[in-house]
Subunit: 228 residues, 2 copies
């Protein structure tokens, strides 16, 4: 599903260059469940943004489902993002003056479903992440963990085949974290959805069957974990 | 230092009422180090906002340093916040079009220090949280953990006597988290600064000498931990 070869990402700010990724290669089959770990600033989110077609590498190649991503037009990239990928952002990226329900429905506005279908699906997803009763709150009327769960519900709304979750439990207590991980686990085992999640917590990483370790813009370890 | 009695906070949204705090009382002496834990949505941030004079309770009283906070004018509250309290927000609340350095300097604009003093102090704080070299980045040019550390550096800039930190390590790997906790520990032991931090991670809470547990808008447990 994912074939990333020698991804390099260099940010330039005037005279200064920041090598956020220094040659990252990764191969992921459909149906895998990966965790990505590493120190703050080691390139994890930069890598996730490239995998999610939100950003292009400075050099290197990335094939998603056989297609070379660097050869796609902006419209084609937007289509892939909207249909194939569900992204949970590290900083949630919710629309501020918009209710939780509308935030979750947003991706569905582009695929032609009816208003009633969209709303029913959004309500179902919010219920599933424990937010029944919070659908009309705007982000600033929600706790940190509730905002994070709206972001998760939104990432799942399009039935994506690939979920990229950047610190999806960073603001959640252990009880709520386990409920979210149970959802990801079920989607992976029952629906065969590929999941790549960034976390700095070992207990969260233990749900995955493979752990990728980043340090200073490189992958330094790729552990396949034997699972029951 | 802190005397909170029967704090109640009810949010009203049209017909719906949400009892975020249902009668919370807490007494904190100068120099204490507290951790606050509890499930997502249990009222922790709401409580911290009242302690930090950012919000008023629906009912109940709160004395900070002997003064009844509900009797203070808006200007007096702003002064207390600026001089006595350093607040690390759960969602960082950094100014978007502004560099890390300027974000950290911001609280110092109100207390009459010179430009050179402000900048030197801000640089020192950024260096201390491991962000040397990142001072000119704007928030969207920083990783999640780097943004969180800018928020921490900003909270410390005014040499506050009370630090309220809401999930200050939620986006940090364990190595960086320990560096931040070492800073808080040093400020508490050497400078006698009172620290109250919200966390959902037990290893972070273990740095505190007292752990407050929230559930559904109430404090259900107040553990004093014997420390070496
Ligand atoms: N402005 C608001 N209007 C309406 N409801 C609100 C508002 N702010 C918070 N709430 C609600 O109050 C409850 C408590 O929120 P609070 O932010 O204090 O929780 P928390 O313990 O910090 O949670 P988390 O661990 O997820 O950050 C939540 O259920 C939330 O939906
Ligand atoms: N737009 C940008 N311009 C310049 N530098 C950037 C930009 N975005 C990220 N960086 C830098 O690239 C490096 C990698 O960032 P990235 O967000 O990928 O780290 P991360 O591993 O996700 O960290 P964290 O665990 O703190 O979220 C960081 O040191 C950051 O300062
Ligand atoms: Mg990141
Ligand atoms: Mg909170």
């Amino acid at each position: 599903l994912i074939e990333a070869i020698d991804l390099v990402k260099i940010y330039r700010m005037g005279e200064v260059t920041i090598p956020a990724l220094r040659g990252v290669s990764l191969s992921v089959e459909m149906g895998e469940f990966l965790a990505v770990m590493g120190p703050s600033g080691s390139g994890k989110s930069t890598f996730m943004n490239i995998l999610g077609c939100l950003d292009k590498p400075t050099s290197g190649s990335y094939r998603l489902d056989g297609q070379k991503v660097e050869e796609l037009s902006r419209d084609q990239l937007a289509q892939i993002r909207n249909r194939k990928i569900g992204f949970v952002f590290q900083t949630f990226n919710l629309l501020p003056r918009t209710s939780a329900l509308e935030n979750v429905e947003l991706p569905l506005l582009y695929n032609g479903s009816s208003t009633r279908e969209r709303q029913a699906k959004a309500l179902k997803n919010l219920h599933e992440v424990g937010l029944a009763g919070r659908e009309h709150h705007q982000p600033n009327q929600l706790s940190g963990g509730e905002q994070q769960r709206v972001a998760i519900a939104r990432a799942l709304i399009n039935d994506p085949s690939l979920i990229l979750a950047d610190e999806p439990t960073g603001n959640l207590d252990s009880g709520t974290s386990m409920e979210i991980m149970a959802i990801f686990q079920r989607l992976n085992r029952e629906a065969g959805i590929t999941i790549i999640l960034v976390t700095h917590e070992a207990e969260i990483a233990s749900y995955a069957r493979r752990i990728i370790h980043f340090r200073v813009g490189l992958v330094i370890k790729d552990d396949r974990v034997a699972k029951a």
